[in-house]
Structure formats: C-alpha cells, structure tokens
C-alpha cells in the first residue's frame, strides 16, 4: 500500500513538473503541444569541462557550450558521440538514451576529459 502511494505521488510530481515545463515553453514562445526536453549544460571554460562529471537520467540532452577563445571538441572515448569543432560560443548537444558511463575528451586538447553517467 505504502509503495503504491509513493508511486502515485511520483506520478503526480512528474505531471506537475511537465505542466511547469509546458508553461515555461509557452512563455518562451514554444507551441503549447511541444515538450521542452530536459537538458543539462556542460560549459567549456579555461580548457576544462565543467562539471567534469555529470550524472543524468536516461533520455537527458546534454549540451556543451564553448566559452573559451580557443576551439574545442567533445568526443566520446568509445565512439558514441562526436561533436564538430566548437569555436567560441558554439554548442553541441547529444541525447543519452541508454544507461552507462560515457567518458569523453577534447581531441584537440586531450588533457581535457569528462564523463557523463547515465542512470
């Protein structure tokens, strides 16, 4: 019984969150029927990925933004994703649809490493 109540509570929370997101979408001019994807941002600053480790639920879109004066890339060490070169303020997004740990690095400056943990 208790577990069921908790699950109902979670469902209510998710619906509530979705409603909030939809509202935000409307304010931003997005059509009422469109869902705004849940996203996480990684900033590239001073030759480093921040945060270097990001833990996200399945289905999350991660967006990298290069804030440096120098171009960078974000490339999966296992070949799962590969950005084009990002010059200053360029972005790259990838949707993580499977659980796992995804290490990545900048192929131009390989000292720059990070990982996305998808749960």
């Amino acid at each position: 019984m208790k577990a069921k109540v908790a699950r109902i509570g979670l469902v209510a929370l998710v619906i509530g969150l979705a409603a909030t997101l939809t509202t935000v979408g409307r304010v931003g001019g997005v059509g009422a029927q469109e869902k705004v994807p849940a996203g996480v941002a990684v900033k590239i600053d001073n030759f480093s990925f921040g945060p270097a480790t990001v833990t996200v639920p399945v289905g999350t879109t991660v967006t990298w933004t290069n804030r440096d004066d120098i171009p960078h890339t974000a490339v999966s060490s296992d070949g799962v994703f590969k950005s084009k070169v990002m010059d200053t303020d360029d972005k790259f997004s990838f949707v993580f649809s499977k659980p796992g740990t995804y290490p990545y690095y900048c192929t131009i400056h390989p000292k720059m490493t990070g990982q996305i943990i998808v749960q």
Partner: protein, 322 residues
C-alpha cells in the same frame, strides 16, 4: 665573439656532451629573446640587446633558415584581431634579415580551424617571402575534423603516414615529425609506433657526425604536461638520436620562447606570429594572453637559425616583430 662581458652569459656545462647530469635549462620568456650558439658541449647565449651585431655573415654560417610558427589564421579574438597583419609583419621581418634564409620552416597551427580559406590566406602571405621554399608540420588546429587529410593534400605531398618526412640541406638532416593526430584522452602529443619505426630507420644509415634538426609542433620535451605541453613518446624518438653529436629540436605550440640543452640536444620553442600564451602555470589555462595593443608585436616573432659547419655551431636568434 666580440660581445662585451656584460652581455654575455656563458653556460659551460658538460664538456663531453654526454654527461646528462650536466643538464642545463635556460628559458627566455615571451617578450625577451636570446641568441644561442652551441659549440661542442658548450652553449653560449647572448641577450637580444646586442643582436644587431650578429648576423649569418659575421658568424660564417653556411646554412640559414627561418622558423615561423602558430600563425592561427582565422583567429579574430581580442588577443589579436588581425593575425594576417602580424603574419605579414613576420614575413617582412624575415625578408629584412641581413642574410636571407634559404627556406622557411612552419611548425604548425598554420590555421585556427583548418578552414580552406585560412590555409589559402597563409599561402598567399607566405608567397611574399623572399625564400620560396617552405617546409611544414601540422599543429592540432590544422588537423581538426579530418585527421589532417586536407593538411596533407596541401602540404604533405611525398610525406609518410600522418605527414612525417625528412630531407637534407647542405649536409644537415632535417626531420619533420607529426605529434598532433590520434591523441589519446588524458594524454599529451603523440608520435605513435609507425612514426617511431620510420624515424629509427631514417637515421640508421646516417653518420653520427651528421647534424640533425628535428621539427614538430608540440614540444618534444616535457615543458608543462599539466597543460598538455609535451609529447608522450618523445623520449623514445630522442633515444634514436643519441649517437649524433649535434641535434636541434625546434617546436611551436606554446607561443613563447623556451630553451633547454640536454647533452647533445638543444631544444627550442618559437614565438607565435598570432598571439602569446601565458608562462606555464601562471594563468588558469593556456588560453590566449591579452596584452595592450601597442605591446602585441613585442611578444610575437620569428626564429632565425644558422648552422656553421665544422664548428658544430648552431645559432638560434629569436626576433620580436617590434
């Protein structure tokens, strides 16, 4: 050798040229310059303030060439909004040398984003050089997106693998290495097994008296690994060059002058023609260093190299653009 004692710094380290404990490290930061003459195992360096007294003719040099590096064509941020103008100034500086270099070496980061128009612009500006022959190695910016295919199509005809090659000029053996492709996560510059095998075979038949000049983009010594300023497998490459009495290693990448002499090997990095980078660890990152516009050309420059046969002397002269 008519320098006054005031301007002369004589580093008399390992006389035999073998004792690695006689390790000498001398550094000249961006904005300064030095002339280094190596004779036997002795390095002499002279301050830039007397540089105008030195030229290839005076030194009796038989081979003269100039190194330019890190032109980063396409870069347009505040550190230098006009990298074409400063590359042109570098070419003018070379053209004004009292003894014309026989050829130019470009040690990589020709372009900023490996765009065709960036390479085109550099090619156009370099056509203004009196010296018509230019030898290149790629920087990491030149191989963005295609692992260097476009670079090799343009500059790498007749080269091996990722673009490595060697050639001889007046008895000096030049080796251009590529340490900017197939870089591993968390690693530094990388030469790779195929290139190392090629290098071992390339120098095997040479006499140990043959002067060697190695040029590559990322330093082939550990300048500052925290910023990626080094090459993972450079020690193995250098082990193949131990038998030679005179080895000079010329690099770019770090946009400032650094020198080191270890045994028979002289390491030297050149200034950029585009923008300076901070001293190792003196900033949050190795990103472009912004200096007042009127100071920019004092931290950019070219490197003029003279070889004197018989004396095993190599003179490296760095000149700022202004």
């Amino acid at each position: 050798m008519s320098q006054s004692k005031n301007d002369e710094i004589l580093h008399d380290h390992n006389h035999d040229g073998i004792d690695r404990r006689g390790f000498l490290k001398c550094m000249a930061w961006a904005g300064t310059g030095a002339l280094c003459v190596m004779q036997g195992g002795v390095l002499k360096s002279y301050s830039m303030s007397r540089m105008n007294e030195w030229n290839a003719a005076k030194m009796g040099g038989e081979l003269s060439f100039a190194q330019i590096s890190d032109s980063h064509m396409g870069f347009n941020k505040p550190a230098n909004p006009d990298v074409a103008a400063t590359l042109k100034a570098a070419v003018d500086k070379i053209n004004a040398l009292s003894a014309q270099p026989e050829f130019l070496l470009h040690t990589g980061d020709i372009s900023h984003l490996a765009k065709p128009e960036e390479f085109d612009t550099v090619d156009q500006i370099l056509k203004g050089a009196v010296a018509k022959e230019v030898f290149f190695v790629p920087g990491e910016h030149d191989v963005i997106g295609d692992d260097g295919q476009q670079y090799r199509d343009r500059y790498g005809k007749g080269t091996k693998g990722a673009g490595w090659y060697s050639f001889d000029k007046k008895g000096v053996h030049f080796i251009g290495l590529v340490n900017v492709v197939n870089l591993k996560a968390g690693g530094l510059g990388n030469l790779g097994g195929d290139q190392l095998d090629w290098l071992a075979a390339d120098v095997k038949q040479l006499k140990s008296s043959t002067p060697i000049v190695v040029f590559a983009h990322i330093p082939l010594w550990s300048v500052y690994p925290e910023w990626g300023w080094g090459t993972d497998d450079s020690a193995q490459a250098l082990s193949y060059l131990r038998k030679f009495g005179s080895v000079s290693v010329l690099n770019g990448h770090i946009h400032q002058i650094m020198q080191k002499v270890e045994g028979n090997v002289t390491f030297h990095t050149a200034m950029s023609t585009a923008f300076p980078q901070p001293q190792p660890g003196k900033a949050d990152s190795p990103g472009p260093m912004k200096v007042p516009a009127e100071q920019l050309r004092s931290v950019l420059g070219i490197t003029d190299v003279n070889f004197v046969r018989g004396q095993h002397a190599l003179a490296i002269v760095d000149s700022q653009l202004a």
